[in-house]
């Protein structure tokens, strides 16, 4: 019994508008997922690459300024090519691009895990417990429902991709103390935005489509892992010199190809390669110490990091637009599946 039983009371509060009603679904979904300790642990582990990225950008900023703060670790930079040490500002966009792409490479992996933790329940549980009539008999459209559910995945994926990337970018800018930094690196920010949104859109739609295909969340998880891991394995097995299409079987490789295109990574790797090749002789004669201070006995030279396309024996690569096409096709298929499986109530019982 309630302590003070007032019976039914009328309510005279104000109801909100419809525009952001989907946010209610997103909020509820995020709240529910944050009760899962695996989700929280994955989110926490995703912080580490972000911290490393931030730390690198801070170091780079200090390195550009030849800051005295770096004096204790200056030996780490002594093996770098002279051209780079003399004018690091000329290479800032290159190293920022490489840092951000490495960051996104790791976050892509974490994102796949996070998606499989967060996504399977989203629609499948609603189908299992027949919650759709409860949603659609309220002032919600189907698009609100989809947006709300998509928002849950988006919230988590953007938390580990876009948000740390932007924060790291801001930190990097702050430590560069150079207004020209924005001019040199705005493409990095734009590519970060574009790639984060592509990953979120693609993974979100795909997971929602999978989630709508079964009332059993474990089956949905299996579908996702199948797409991700089986695709990767199949791609690896079928890879041969001269064959350009096997990477298209791998979902994450397709995402990576699009990312590399956005960041123009191949071009930046080429620059780094040229830089190190040019500085090879200088470096060989100028230093006998490795990055950890160990004597290299004259045989040390920083290996010029080859761009993936130039590696010996590397298979031919399909243009990135093919990968984008595969992602677009998967997205379109997801929308079709979703609209078919999550039907309105405009049907006979």
């Amino acid at each position: 019994m309630p302590i003070l039983d007032q019976g039914y009371q009328h309510w005279n509060g104000k109801l909100g508008g419809h525009a952001l009603r989907w946010l209610t679904i997103t909020r509820q979904g995020v709240r529910a997922q944050l009760k899962n300790r695996w989700v929280v642990m994955t989110l926490a582990s995703a912080l580490l690459p972000a911290l490393v990225l931030g730390a690198f950008l801070v170091l780079w900023g200090l390195f550009e300024q030849q800051s005295s703060i770096l004096t204790p670790i200056l030996f780490l930079f002594q093996n770098l090519p002279e051209e780079l040490r003399a004018g690091p500002k000329g290479y800032r966009s290159t190293f920022w691009v490489l840092a951000f792409t490495q960051f996104f490479e790791i976050q892509l992996f974490v994102g796949m895990i996070l998606t499989v933790l967060v996504g399977p329940d989203l629609v499948s549980q609603d189908l299992r417990l027949n919650a759709l009539p409860l949603y659609f008999s309220r002032p919600l459209r189907r698009i609100d429902y989809f947006l709300g559910k998509f928002g849950v995945i988006a919230a988590f994926l953007l938390t580990i991709t876009l948000i740390p990337a932007v924060l790291a970018y801001v930190v990097g800018l702050a430590f560069s103390l150079d207004p020209m930094m924005v001019r040199d690196t705005w493409r990095v920010l734009a590519a970060s935005f574009a790639f984060s949104l592509i990953v979120t859109l693609s993974a979100g739609l795909l997971m929602l489509a999978f989630s709508s295909l079964s009332k059993n969340s474990r089956q949905v998880s299996a579908m996702w892992l199948g797409l991700w891991l089986v695709g990767n394995v199949a791609s690896g097995v079928l890879m041969q010199p001269g064959r350009a299409w096997p990477p298209l079987l791998s979902y994450t490789t397709n995402l990576s190809r699009v990312r590399d295109a956005f960041f123009d990574v191949d071009h930046e790797w080429e620059r780094v390669g040229e830089l190190f090749r040019a500085g090879k002789g200088v470096v060989r004669s100028s230093s006998g110490f490795g990055p950890l201070g160990m004597r290299r006995r004259g045989r040390f030279s920083p290996p010029p990091p080859p761009p993936p396309s130039e590696s010996a024996g590397a298979p031919a690569q399909a243009p990135w637009t093919w990968s984008a096409g595969v992602l677009a096709a998967l997205g379109t298929a997801s929308v079709v599946v979703l609209s078919t499986r999550v039907r309105s109530l405009d049907r006979l019982k």
Binding site: Q28, A32, L129, A131, L134, S137, P139
Partner: protein
């Protein structure tokens, strides 16, 4: 008027669910009767703007069902027939979430959720997972979630389906209280006539997608001028025999006789029979149709 529908037509392929349905329903508690496939659920979905109607127009609480569907769903509470739940929530979270989905602020929704859960007598179970509730509790939870924003109209689709007698009585008592004590308009769809009769004062009978009969239950249950329920002091069967000798058919039903006067007889015949047999007539009243008779008659009449 609470609801006005004009020539509402809805087809699903070759099946006509609503065939030019026209009606105007007054405020209060309205029962929507009809056999399976009569179009009750389709009509409710049309009222909520959940389906695209083929022809006709309608207004609910003065709002157009085609162009103001979202506004209608915001002003109306709906308790679906199906067993349906929001996953992974407790009772109070369920109701609060339902409130937020209609546009209540999170804090208002939570406070109001506690109030309505007390009202539907689920206060003790509010922190239990909704999935662990019994059928009756789930039904009351759905009602709580439908009234959380204090709607002007509450639509219940087969609210007592699959419930045990106790749970059914509880739900009907809730509906009666909402309608009579709280002034909420109700539209209750059911094929269980006693349920409708227990709550509603107005009824619409649907069949094959159109209105077969409608009106105040008290008026539909018309008094018969040649049929009476008659109670005597002595032996009912003996008195029935005496009436039969005078050409009046009388049939014992429970504690009274159901008397059917032939066209050439009047009530005086009954009094004369009693007087001659030294019998006392203790009560006599014209027989009224039951809602079941109204319903069956409506279904039998050619449309």
């Amino acid at each position: 008027m609470l609801i006005e529908l004009e020539d509402l037509t809805k087809t699903y392929g070759a099946i006509t669910a609503l065939a030019g349905l026209s009606t105007a329903l007054p405020e209060g508690a309205v029962g929507l009767l009809g056999p399976n496939g009569a179009g009750k659920t389709t009509m409710i979905r049309s009222l909520l703007g959940l389906i695209a109607i083929d022809a006709g127009k309608g207004r609910v609480l003065g709002m157009d069902v085609v162009h103001q569907a979202l506004a209608i769903r915001q002003a109306v509470g709906f308790v679906p027939e199906d067993d349906c739940l929001f996953p992974g929530v407790t009772g109070v979270q369920f109701v609060a979430y339902a409130g937020e989905l209609v546009g209540m602020g999170a804090r208002d929704a939570l406070q109001r959720a506690h109030e309505v859960l007390d009202y539907v007598d689920l206060g003790e179970a509010r922190y239990r997972s909704a999935e662990s509730y019994s059928t009756g509790m789930k039904q009351r939870l759905k009602i709580a979630s439908a009234i959380v924003h204090d709607p002007r109209l509450l639509i219940l689709d087969e609210p007592t389906n699959g419930m045990d007698p106790v749970g059914r009585d509880e739900v009907l008592a809730l509906c009666r209280d909402l309608s009579r004590a709280k002034g909420m308009n109700l539209l209750i769809s059911s094929h269980l006539l006693p349920d409708v009769e227990a709550v509603c004062e107005y009824v619409v009978v649907l069949g094959k997608g159109r209105v077969l009969a409608q009106g105040r239950i008290a008026e539909l249950k018309q008094a018969h001028d040649r049929q009476f329920e008659l109670r005597v002091r002595g032996d009912q069967r003996r008195f029935a025999g005496l009436l039969a000798e005078r050409g009046v058919r009388a049939e014992p039903v429970n504690d009274h006789l159901l008397v059917d006067l032939p066209p050439d007889s009047t009530v005086a015949t009954l009094w004369e029979t009693a007087e001659s047999a030294a019998e006392q007539i203790r009560s006599m009243r014209p027989r009224r149709s039951t809602l079941e008779e109204v319903f069956l008659r409506a279904l039998e009449e050619p449309s």
